[in-house]
């Protein structure tokens, strides 16, 4: 269990591992191995991230001038709809649970696989089916509702709303089944000695995420089906001309979509909790506080949805109640931040690309989180609602926190997945581009929101032009950063040096087997006899510090 005794020996690449145990395309498509399913998720989510990113760049180019620039109004409306739907439902929600949850969770539990391997494969196929359907429908039918599908616009627009919604519905099932699988796996498949308080924080984060996925996702399924029924059957559910209530749609939509924010961000926080311990070689400062605050966010997150509807005509009393509840979510996040920073204190921090992302992440989560508190402050939201301030705020969380988390995970577990090392120098160059590019893209959008620029604007008054030009310039830095990452990771796959089993010298259970792991994960079931994220040598006198 010591992490360093064999560090001097030359790293070895295991001759037989999960990547080469079976061969042929069919062995991949029909695999029940959680690690192979994870890799197929990785390729898929990266593909959708790429096309979602191309849509984003198209939007930024269009907004370079106040008038029409490179596309028509209808094309622009389709473009931001595609960007939102692809990024949220096909990249952000499945990214960390689908890829790193699938890959690492059984390893971190010392298990051979997830509890229901066939169900796991079904989730992947549902993900592919739903994505294909939604993207095809949007591309062929010019869906122009935005990812929020607000009624009665979505029930009356002449575009293909229904097939796209069916795609979202199927994607929801993929998400529910994955969540269910993880919950059962964590409850039943922990290795001997691995009690709940010895789980790595990544596992706690994925557990909290899975609970939200299972409980909240059925509501979006129900909501999109009701829109479909209204469109096809003509029942008046949301359209007032038929006797429906458009605000009812918003309540149902946000009842899912607010918790969905935590479906996206909790896994990212989970990655950071694990990685920050590994890269500072420290025990987690306030383990229980981080673990329980994830559950706290999952719980309180269910009751904050109304803060998306402060100017929708909701009663002032409701607005006050939702605002007060939203403040609590902020406190849970603040607890995590204090504990992460506390973990760095008196650590032994390795200078690596993931650590650059961690520093960026800490700044983004505080700024993004506190601007979330700002927009949950009712009177301030009256001015900011539906402006670029809100766009910038959620991109700080979605890009600044979630994508940073995804990149940290990708770099941290890359040697675990492929047994290869990437180039650390290029890694830090790309990380700097991404962190700075991100700041340059979204800080101007906060200011554009202050100045009063509404979101989803194809053309805008000239006074917003300077800020939009700045934002587009920042977005190109961001794009350059991502391209560098793609290049050096592909190079590392092909030509990278052999990593060895535990190149980071990490204390995680997933590193106790070979990298890449064998098909059955562990040659013998590990027995866990120590606390998580523990970097003290056995028998060594440990200095205890209480602050």
């Amino acid at each position: 269990m010591s992490q360093s005794s064999d560090a001097e020996a030359a790293p070895v690449y295991p001759a037989v591992n999960y990547l080469n145990a079976d061969r042929g395309v069919w062995s991949w498509l029909s695999t029940l191995d959680h690690k192979r399913i994870a890799l197929m998720y990785l390729v898929s989510v990266l593909f959708f991230f790429l096309i979602g990113g191309i849509f984003a760049m198209a939007i930024r180019l269009e907004l370079l001038t106040p008038g029409p620039t490179i596309m028509s109004a209808n094309t622009y409306n389709r473009m931001f709809t595609l960007h939102g739907v692809v990024m949220i439902f096909m990249f952000m929600i499945p990214a960390i649970p689908g890829v790193f949850g699938n890959f690492c969770l059984p390893l971190m539990l010392g298990a051979k696989d997830v509890a229901f391997p066939r169900l796991n494969l079904l989730s992947l196929y549902l993900y592919w089916t739903g994505s294909l359907l939604a993207v095809t429908a949007m591309a062929m039918g010019g869906l122009d509702t935005g990812w929020t599908f607000y009624a009665p616009y979505s029930t009356t627009t002449p575009t293909t709303v229904f097939p796209a919604l069916l795609g979202v519905f199927i994607l929801g099932f993929s998400s529910i089944l994955t969540g269910l699988n993880f919950i059962v796996t964590i409850h039943t498949m922990r290795a001997p000695g691995l009690g709940w308080m010895r789980l790595q924080l990544f596992v706690w984060g994925i557990y909290a995420t899975s609970i939200i996925q299972v409980l909240a996702t059925p509501v979006i399924g129900l909501t999109v089906m009701l829109v479909g029924i209204e469109r096809i059957g003509g029942f008046g559910l949301f359209d007032p001309t038929k006797g429906g209530d458009p605000v009812l749609f918003q309540h149902m939509f946000w009842f899912y979509s607010h918790p969905a924010v935590y479906i996206m961000v909790l896994p990212s926080m989970a990655v950071v909790s694990d990685a920050i311990a590994a890269f500072s070689r420290k025990n987690i400062f306030g383990y229980k506080m981080i673990a329980y605050s994830s559950l706290g966010i999952a719980f309180v997150g269910f009751f904050a949805w109304g803060h998306h509807m402060f100017v929708s005509g909701q009663s002032p009393f409701d607005n006050g109640a939702f605002a007060a509840i939203s403040m609590l979510v902020g406190v849970f996040t603040a607890i995590k931040v204090f504990n992460w920073v506390g973990t760095l204190y008196r650590g032994a921090i390795a200078v690596t690309a993931p650590f650059v992302y961690i520093c960026g992440f800490l700044f983004f989560i505080v700024f993004g989180g506190m601007t979330g508190i700002a927009v949950a402050t009712v009177s301030l939201d009256v001015h900011w609602h539906d402006t670029y301030f809100v766009v910038a705020h959620f991109h700080f969380i979605m890009v600044g926190a979630v994508i940073m988390g995804f990149l940290i995970a990708l770099h941290y577990w890359f040697p675990k997945m492929f047994g290869k090392k990437y180039n650390e120098g290029w890694g830090m160059v790309a990380a700097s581009f991404i962190v700075l590019g991100f700041i340059a893209t979204f800080i101007p959008q906060f200011l554009a929101g202050n100045a009063g620029m509404p979101r989803r604007y194809y053309m805008y008054p000239e006074r917003f032009e300077a800020l939009n030009v700045a934002s587009t310039a920042g977005a190109s830095l961001l794009a350059i950063g991502f391209v560098i990452v793609l290049i050096y990771l592909i190079y590392a796959l092909v030509r990278g040096p052999i990593a060895g089993d535990n190149p980071w010298d990490s204390g995680g259970i997933e590193w106790m087997t070979t990298s890449p792991p064998p098909k059955e994960n562990f040659h013998e079931t590990p027995i866990i006899d120590r606390d998580p994220h523990s970097y003290q040598k056995r028998g060594e006198e440990v200095e205890h510090v209480v602050i």
């Binding site: 062929m140 650590g347 009256v382 009063g452």
Partner: protein, 349 residues
């Protein structure tokens, strides 16, 4: 101080009584946010240098939080968040309670324009709302189609307009001048052009204006119900306005882009092949016929989905539409027939 912060944050002028309330809290919240996030980032960076890994497999002490520390990290953020909540909610309740003496104006939003009516005492208007300086104005708002949102950045006010329901908001303008109204809730193709204007006049000037408008109303003999009563643009501009308000743009583009119906760009005098195989020239007669009986002559490749505008368009409106279509000429000299619709329209009952 106020002006420095306002400029730094790119905030527009403060032209209502609500604006300074919003901005004062805004400055407080954003300053704390900036300080906290930059401090966190810098602290992480400082630890990054101070506690660098000195040797391989270095041991680290076991650092644990004390109860006192935990109380502080929960208490400090909670204190600030609750403080902001209380102040924000207090201001919000003030903002949602219009004074009793407020002047009522009815607002209707529809794709993609704003309409205003001063009740029994005054005129109707499209796009421009005249209000007095220093007197509260209450807006009673509804929408005719989808959700819109009435947003005046200079007043810091915003309220959604819902079809089939009334919502209200109010403001008291503090400075005479012109202020932009923007639609903030996505409402389709020209959402980004659904703009209007509030003209704030000194109170006395406003009263005179209202009297003048009322006199104008009683003198007016034209009783047609169309929106053109007080439209003062050219006939082409008027046609464009009707194309927007009657929903023509939902299916016909102005810029050559394929959509559900044929584009209007270069439509006038275009040679079109019909479903029946017959060829026609899109002249004034054909364009007018197509508004009144749209399913009689369908261009090849399109579905017969257009509703009739018989009885919905007055004669001058139809003429204005035709003039507007005639004005849509591209640079090219070619006259190409319409291509097929790019996607199927959705079936309606």
């Amino acid at each position: 101080m106020n002006d420095i912060m306002r400029t730094l944050l790119w905030l527009p002028v403060q032209a209502s009584t609500f604006a300074s309330k919003v901005d004062n809290l805004h400055y407080f919240v954003i300053t704390v946010t900036m300080v906290a996030s930059i401090a966190t980032g810098l602290l992480a960076f400082y630890f990054f240098f101070k506690y660098r890994e000195r040797r391989k497999a270095q041991s680290t002490p076991l650092v644990l939080p004390s109860v006192k520390f935990e109380i502080v990290v929960i208490g400090v953020p909670l204190f600030f968040f609750l403080l902001w909540f209380v102040q924000g909610f207090k201001d919000y309740v003030w903002y949602t309670s219009p004074p009793k003496n407020a002047m009522d104006v009815y607002v209707m939003g529809k794709k993609w324009m704003w309409k205003f009516a001063y009740g029994s005492q005054g005129p109707n208007a499209i796009g421009t709302l005249h209000v007095p300086e220093g007197r509260p104005v209450r807006l009673l708002m509804t929408s005719r189609d989808v959700i819109h949102s009435f947003y005046v950045p200079d007043f810091r006010i915003k309220q959604d307009l819902l079809p089939g329901r009334y919502t209200e908001t109010w403001f008291e303008a503090t400075k005479a001048g012109r202020y932009q109204i923007l639609c903030a809730e996505y409402c389709g193709t020209w959402h980004s052009q659904m703009w209007g204007e509030i003209v704030v006049m000194p109170a006395q000037e406003f009263d005179n204006w209202l009297v003048e408008q009322r006199r104008g109303l009683s003198e007016r003999v034209d009783t047609s119900t169309d929106d053109g009563d007080n439209f003062h643009g050219s006939i082409v501009e008027y046609g464009k306005k009707i194309a927007m308000s009657e929903g023509c743009v939902k299916c016909h583009s102005f810029d050559g882009e394929p959509h559900i119906g044929p584009t209007w760009l270069d439509l006038y005098q275009r040679r079109e092949t019909l479903e029946t195989g017959e060829t026609i020239i899109a002249d004034e007669a054909y364009l007018t016929d197509s508004m009144i009986d749209p399913r009689a002559k369908i261009v090849k490749g399109y579905k017969p989905v257009m509703p009739t505008y018989k009885g919905r368009l007055a004669a001058p409106e139809a003429a204005a539409l035709v003039e507007f279509i005639k004005s849509l000429r591209s640079e090219s000299l070619e006259n190409v027939p319409s291509k097929e619709a790019i996607y199927e329209p959705v079936k309606r009952r």
